[in-house]
Amino acid sequence: MAQGRKVGHGLSERQAALVLLAPFITVYALFLVYPFFRGVWISLHDWNLLAVAFNPDAREFVGVQNYVRTMWGRNIEWSALASPVIQTTSVLLAGLAFLGWRTGRVSRSTALVVGLGAAIFFLLPGFHPGEGGRWYDRRFWPTVGNTVQFVVLAVSGVTISALLLAAALDRQTRAMAVLRTLFFLSQTLSVTVVTLIWQIMFSPRQGLIANVTNLFGGTPVTWLTDEQFAMAAIVVTTVWWSLGIAMILFLAGMQDISKDIYEAAAIDDCNGFRAFRYITLPNLKRTITLVIVLQIILHFQVFGQSHLMTQGGPNDSTQVLVRYIYQTAFRDSDLGEASAMAVFLFVIMGGFSIVQFIVGREDI
């Protein structure tokens, strides 16, 4: 045995663990943990990017002022009827989620996600400037609103179409495999390629859509510069881009549903759409919740589509949170406020990550 000694032979289990953990812990501490806390620290300062770059002492501790300046205003009041439609809907949703959970129709985690969402949608839109009041930053909450609108549209678009496609493609044949590949292909493209393609697709002068419109004698729509259509255009782009991953996750979930159930149901003449409604959907609940949460996390961080296709416009209608953070930091050089918004983003994302973790752990 003695001649078999090589480097590391003499290490105890603890020492070996230390050696093996060291590389990751080092980069992790330096490039993720430290930046995270430094971000929180920056958010508590009046910190101008250029001024601090010239003179490191040009920052000033201001406590939570950056948070107040971005998220609060003068004479802000809360009422349960500030945006009646959204708030009433959220109360109804919360009630439905609770009922669904009590009657066992939806799982605890689904109810939790819906409940959490409903609570946010009930509380946040309730804040509004009272008489003579105003928001200190007029753009922040509308930006958050746009982001939420984008998330709701993109997530529902992706989830519904991916679910239907997955149900149709859930067969182990060569033709189906080819079709799955075709639908998945766009997922591998980068955001700049995707936006490049769709920017020109939507172009009123050169675009394929405009060419088709012309063919039928219509007037091309200026998709990306029309306030009515710009958000729809980036949602379409996003659905096209990110349908693949959701479809694959649904297909993986469908693999776990026993084929016997379908065969038994087929004897009772339960096929096609009815089989989908009464067998696939109920058995896929957990996967669906997981995919939705995953998509929310993913799409809340949207940046490229808005930044490259519409530059947040027209009239801020497609301005989203990450782009606003980016602009505040690197165009307006206000790192303090930008970091406060980044912390806000982290809190939202962190909340959904916890939900994702719970859903991932939960046994059906």
Partner: protein
């Protein structure tokens, strides 16, 4: 099984699949058409979906001058560096957390994985100031390092190593093999499929990453192809020529498309595990 309704289904699905493919086909087709034709109209033949008149001039000019080849090379370096880095730190840490016993192991594991909650967008500002203080911007390591610190790889490898039976290690221990040798000679060969999955996931991510390169690489010499493409997008119609921009887009997509088509099974596997577990 394969009755008539099945063929109808395939036929019915071919229509959306074809529509789904059109934007990509259009990009490829435009990249093979002359710029002066495209300046007039993009729908010469079959709405522009068939590249007639045909030219490879766009690719020739891309390769002979312009910055696209350099950006392409940068992307290769960054993606390869990031992939190797992630594989190294994830397999080592994943193995230690899954198989070795040490004090406070649970605490260490939680600390290592809690970073999964932190999105890139929440730390890119402090990272920017840090790297600016160090004078590291516009370099390969600035583009690579922040993504090596992400715990998703550790999580995937930890899950994988946990599933390997204990007795393999114990047999080696009885023979007097050291822990690091076990890791290197016994565990790593077993982990090849998982490493492959992780490598592909990281490569795709690295190749397509946009926000951090946008912030860190301000000089065109250090643009990745993803970033470079964004920088020429805004003026595609005027100076660059639509055909050439589309050719850059095709070049930017080629490696990921090839990786995807060759390793399709791994990619799907990677996205499924990365998606549900991450």
């Amino acid at each position: 099984m394969l009755n008539r309704s099945y063929y109808w289904l395939v036929l019915a699905l071919s229509i959306p699949a074809f529509l789904w493919l059109i934007p990509t086909v259009w990009m490829i087709s435009l990249s093979f058409q002359p710029n002066d034709v495209l300046a007039r109209t993009t729908s010469t033949t079959a709405l522009g979906l068939i590249p007639i008149p045909f030219t490879i001039e766009n690719y020739a000019s891309l390769l002979s001058f312009g910055q696209t080849p350099m950006w392409f090379l940068n992307s290769v370096v960054v993606a390869a560096g990031m992939t190797l880095g992630v594989l190294f730190v994830s397999t080592t840490a994943g193995y230690a957390l899954a198989r070795l016993d040490f004090p406070q192991k649970n605490t260490v594991t939680v600390i290592c994985l809690i970073g999964l909650m932190v999105p890139e967008q929440a730390v890119f500002i402090p990272l920017y100031t840090m790297f600016a203080d160090l004078g590291w911007h516009n370099s390969y390591h600035a583009l690579i390092l922040p993504r090596v610190a992400v715990p998703i790889g550790v999580f995937l490898m930890l899950q994988f190593f946990k599933a390997i039976p204990k007795d393999i290690e114990e047999a080696a221990r009885i023979d007097g093999v050291g822990w690091l040798q076990i890791f290197w000679y016994v565990m790593l060969p077993l982990a090849r499929p998982a490493m492959m999955t992780l490598a592909i996931l990281t490569f795709l991510y690295a190749w397509n990453d946009y926000l951090w390169p946008l912030v860190s690489a301000r000089e065109p010499e250090f643009f990745t192809i993803t970033l470079g493409l964004a920088s020429i997008q805004s003026n595609f119609a005027q100076s660059e020529g639509l055909g050439r921009v589309m050719a850059s887009g095709v070049m930017a997509s080629l490696p990921v498309l090839i990786v995807f088509l060759i390793f399709q099974r791994y990619v799907v596997q990677a996205m499924t595990t990365g998606g549900t577990k991450g």
